[in-house]
């Protein structure tokens, strides 16, 4: 997962329209995948730090809580129904959003396209 997140970080930096969409997004997002916990520090759209947890003292704006198999299916080139979107994972009961969901919604296109950045690898 750490490697995948590093790949996503690199692709984000190389995706000008996402950097533009994320220019007001300076937040920490928690990503929980199975038992692992990652803190993603975004600064003006750039992912400047990926810190592995667990941590009880790191504040974050919102969290995406899911499992590795669901994410793997989300990152397939043509995901099955429900696995094609993070809110689909929520609907399937394979993910949930915690924390300040309104901040997520205000930056929804940015965050959804960031999360999908690992999908290209499967296409290659």
């Amino acid at each position: 997962m750490r490697d995948t997140l590093e790949t996503m970080r690199g692709r984000l930096a190389e995706t000008p329209h996402l950097m533009r969409l994320g220019r007001l997004f300076t937040e920490t997002v928690q990503l929980r995948v199975d038992d692992a916990e990652y803190y993603l520090d975004f600064e003006k759209g750039a992912l400047v730090a990926i810190t592995e947890g667990p941590s009880r003292k790191t504040p974050y704006r919102f969290a995406l809580v899911t499992d590795g198999e669901a994410l793997a299916r989300f990152w397939e080139p043509l995901p099955a129904p429900g696995f094609h979107d993070i809110f689909g994972l929520v609907k399937l009961g394979r993910a949930r959003i915690e924390g300040d969901i309104l901040t997520l919604v205000k930056n929804l296109r940015f965050f959804k396209e960031f999360m999908a950045l690992a999908r290209r690898e499967a296409v290659q």
Binding site: P81, F87, V105, K106, R109, K112
Partner: protein, 285 residues
């Protein structure tokens, strides 16, 4: 590239809720009238592919109109102090006023999402005005899993948030160009309009009790649902079809919530099949 499409657009003024509404409508083709209803937060452009389809328009007069507040139809006078909240009654009154205004004789009604919901309401309440119903991404009722107030607030762009949310309902099989054309309409939606449509869609459950009174022997009902639709899922559509005696249902494996707009080529055979299921009025029992 230069191309002039066969679609023509005009304006019609009708009275709804006691006041005039200037309605923009488009049409193409000749033959049996098919009145097409757009989804929440969008407009007639969703139907442009089918309206440009020579096989469809060879025997059908395809008509689509922008609901008041949407597309090129203006909101009513005084809108600047009104809260737009669509209701079943106003929606029905608008559709019937357009049918009367255009002099349509028992059209087929094709509606998607909230348009599919109101098509089923009309199948229950005013079947004599129509010759059949193609209810796309249509179901009895689903409460919102989101907060509709997200889409109308002074500190964020409701259209961009709405587009980002509804993108969850578009199939990954949809071509990128049409995915983004579909989302553009939501991005362009007027302030509070998507919210006002969703108020109708997510709060009015009056259809549930009316489904059993739909008589498919007089007016056929065919429901189409995309497997990638998270809002009106195949389970929602199947439950709805079961409650309507005689209704038929097709699940479209590679499509989402905006099939005529997000993936026109993928949707085309399903729509042609649906049209073929709509018996001419003389054939009806």
């Amino acid at each position: 590239m230069t191309a002039i499409e066969p679609i023509t657009g005009r304006y019609l003024t009708v009275t709804v809720e006691g006041a005039p509404r200037r309605i923009y409508f488009e049409e193409a083709g000749a033959g049996r009238p098919v009145l097409c209803l757009h989804t929440a937060g969008a407009d007639t452009r969703q139907w442009r592919h089918l309206m440009n389809d020579a096989e469809v328009t060879a025997s059908h007069r395809m008509i689509a109109f922008d609901m008041p507040w949407h597309g090129k139809s203006l909101p009513p006078e005084g809108f600047e102090t009104q809260e737009y909240l669509l209701t079943t009654d106003a929606y029905i009154e608008t559709i019937l006023a357009v049918i009367d205004g255009l002099g349509l004789e028992r059209p087929v009604l094709a509606g998607c999402s909230m348009g599919g919901r109101i098509a089923l309401q009309l199948a229950a309440l005013h079947p004599e005005r129509f010759s059949g119903f193609i209810a796309i991404e249509a179901s009895d009722f689903q409460p919102a899993w989101y907060d509709i107030d997200w889409f109308h607030r002074p500190d964020a762009h409701g259209g961009e948030m709405g587009a980002a949310l509804v993108s969850a309902n578009i199939s990954p099989h949809a071509p990128d160009e049409e995915r983004w054309n579909t989302l553009w309409m939501f991005m362009q939606s007027g302030p509070g309009v998507f919210r006002g449509d969703l108020s109708f869609y997510t709060r009015d459950d009056s259809l549930i009790a009316r489904l059993g009174q739909i008589d498919c022997t007089r007016t056929p009902v065919h429901i189409l649902v995309g497997a990638y639709d998270l809002t009106c899922t195949p389970e929602d559509a199947e439950r709805t079809a079961r409650a309507i005696p005689g209704a038929t249902l097709t699940v479209m494996d590679e499509l989402g919530h905006f099939p005529m707009s997000e993936h026109p080529q993928g949707f085309r055979p399903f729509f042609l099949d649906a049209l073929a299921r709509m018996r001419q009025p003389a054939e009806a029992a």
